[in-house]
């Protein structure tokens, strides 16, 4: 059965939109609940992508592996690797105040990027890793594999959303929000601020790693270009702020809305005269930056503002 072209446009859109939704939900765990300003999202994304790629790609002489392992194992290991790096960073940086943590995390993401470019034995450097499989490629070929992949991505989105939601409505999530609002007061009611911050940073890092691995499987090829902070860190932040930080539905909605705008601006900038088109990515960045300004001025808490979760034990509200 042949599906019309615009359907595939939507499939492409929702695949990347889903991957961004996972990133955004992960960032929401760190920033929305936890108040941790992670400006190094691209670093965790890259660690997840390379872990997944090396473990699942077909064997190659250019880099370690690939080991041709099943994709699910690759995804889990991508999360674990990213989580371990997140834990190490959290041990050092979580004590820092928001703006200093932002600076430290930018620096760490840059270190990760440079390590990936330069450690050619591990990552094949700037040439990247190819022959990364998609799930069930033997069953679904060609465009069918894209259809299956978008379903696969959204299953992972659903799992991420479920985890984020359970965290948010739990007493753990309440402590997290208390720490975000006032860490000294949270300590004064007996909460181990460092422990909670480390936990939320690690959980966020795990899902960022998973998002990275998914993108590697989607593109079937992964190089350092794909970890461009402007494309990952900047967009994920715009998405979360626009969607509503602290709100999981807002995180998903923000990811889709901003990704739609981002994709549309690509269509628009392609129509520009040639010497403008070369600068199109900067023009798109400018447009999205302006949009963020507008959102911050007009809708400070985003499309879906944070709401305190309904108390699970009361019936008199």
């Amino acid at each position: 059965m042949e599906l019309p072209g615009f359907v595939f446009y939507f499939i492409t859109f929702f695949t990347m939109g889903g991957i961004y939704a996972i990133l955004c939900l992960a960032l929401n765990m760190q920033w929305g609940f936890g108040g941790l300003f992670n400006a190094g999202i691209a670093g965790f994304y890259a660690i997840g992508a390379y872990t997944g790629a090396i473990l699942t790609a077909a064997g190659s002489d250019d880099h370690v592996g690939g080991f041709g392992l099943p994709i699910l194992i690759g995804l889990v290991c991508a999360g674990i690797a990213s989580g371990i790096v997140g834990w190490m960073i959290a041990r050092i940086c979580v004590r820092l105040k928001a703006d200093y943590l932002a600076m430290a995390s930018i620096g760490i993401a840059e270190i990760i990027r440079l390590a990936i470019v330069n450690e050619e034995w591990l990552t094949n450097g700037s040439l990247g890793i190819s022959r990364i499989p998609r799930p069930l490629e033997s069953v679904f070929s060609g465009r069918q594999s894209e259809v299956f992949f978008v379903v696969f991505v959204w299953i992972v989105v659903a799992v991420t959303f479920l985890v984020a939601r359970r965290l948010q409505v739990s007493p753990w999530g309440r402590v997290m929000r208390a720490i975000r609002d006032n860490d000294a007061a949270a300590a004064s009611v007996g909460k181990d601020v460092q422990r909670f911050r480390t936990e939320t940073f690690v959980v966020g890092a795990i899902f960022m790693g998973v998002a990275g691995a998914l993108s590697a499987h989607y593109f079937k090829f992964f190089s350092p270009d794909a970890t461009e902070p402007l494309l990952i860190t900047f967009l994920a932040w715009v998405m979360l702020i626009a969607g509503g930080s602290g709100n999981n539905i807002g995180a998903v909605a923000g990811a889709l809305v901003i990704w739609a705008i981002w994709s549309l601006t690509e269509v628009v900038t392609q129509q520009l005269p040639p010497d403008w088109a070369t600068r199109s990515s900067y023009i798109r960045m400018l447009l999205v930056g302006l949009l963020l300004q507008f959102v911050l001025q007009r809708f400070r808490s985003g499309l879906f503002p944070e709401k305190s979760p309904k108390l699970r034990v009361s019936d008199d509200r």
Binding site: R174, R177, D181, V189, V193, L311
Partner: protein, 262 residues
């Protein structure tokens, strides 16, 4: 109360650079009483509170809770032992509702475990129910139950102080340190806060130590008073003894006589 709440503050020195905010200072806070900690600005009262609460690690000296040395315990572990405090400037959890502010202050070991939160979301429900009931009782006691579902950030200054007192009450405290709970609170509400403190002390045996500049408020509540000046204890006694003491008057208002005499 079965336990004997009491703070021992033993030869504590707290230095910031060259300045000793608290200088070889010792005092006891008796169990079951309301103790006032007064003194002019810069006397070291809040620093002493922060050392007791564990926010600051003293340069020298030790802190005891019921005879146990807690000097090396991090702040959140002291609070878990029942050492509660309120802050000079309101420290509410502003983007959470009032009832959440209280519930988060209860101990909920099961639900605060991240694995239970993700994999066993119902395991915390019993503790949640207890925390909810206790929060409702606390709000009713403080007469702010009508604000239960208001965001804490929207409360007035005085209401925030009541909320902080409520948060401290959620933890079965052995002692509550109140840092200028009356500052910036209007007379009517201040009277109400004083009544609540008195009631908690007389009916439930709670121990309080409070820093306060308003001597009428201190006189109305405190069984004993510790006067601090220049990082040390100037004298201890009842409010009336302290009020008449020349050294205290001079520490507050300045003057040559005391300085010459010392």
């Amino acid at each position: 109360m079965a336990l004997v709440p009491r703070i021992g503050f033993d030869s504590v020195t707290m230095r910031f650079g060259g300045v000793a905010a608290v200088d070889d200072c010792s005092f006891d806070i008796p169990a079951g009483k309301i103790t006032g900690l007064i003194g002019p600005n810069g006397a070291g009262k809040t620093t002493a509170f922060n050392v007791i609460a564990g926010l600051l690690a003293p340069t020298e000296g030790r802190v005891f809770l019921d005879g146990d040395d807690i000097t090396a315990l991090p702040d959140f572990r002291r609070q878990a032992l029942g050492l509660s405090r309120t802050f000079q400037l309101a420290h509410e959890f502003s983007r959470m509702t009032v009832i959440e502010n209280l519930m988060v202050s209860a101990r909920n070991d099961i639900g605060e475990n991240i694995f239970n939160a993700v994999f066993r979301p119902s395991s915390c429900l019993d503790q949640e129910r207890q925390a909810f009931e206790k929060a409702q009782q606390t709000l009713a006691f403080l007469e702010i139950d009508q604000l239960a579902y208001e965001l804490a950030g929207n409360l007035s200054g005085g209401q925030k102080k009541l909320l902080e007192l409520g948060r401290a009450l959620m933890q079965e405290p052995r002692i509550i340190l109140l840092d200028e709970i009356g500052a910036g609170v209007n007379r009517t509400l201040l009277g109400k806060i004083a009544d609540k403190i008195k009631q908690l002390n007389e009916e439930r045996g709670y121990t309080f130590c409070l820093i306060e500049h308003d001597l009428d408020f201190v006189a109305r509540l405190c069984h004993g008073v510790i006067v601090m000046a220049q990082g040390n204890v100037l004298m201890t006694g009842t409010v009336n003894e302290v009020r008449r003491d020349e050294r205290v008057i001079e520490a507050y208002f300045g003057g040559g006589k005391y300085q010459d005499a010392s």
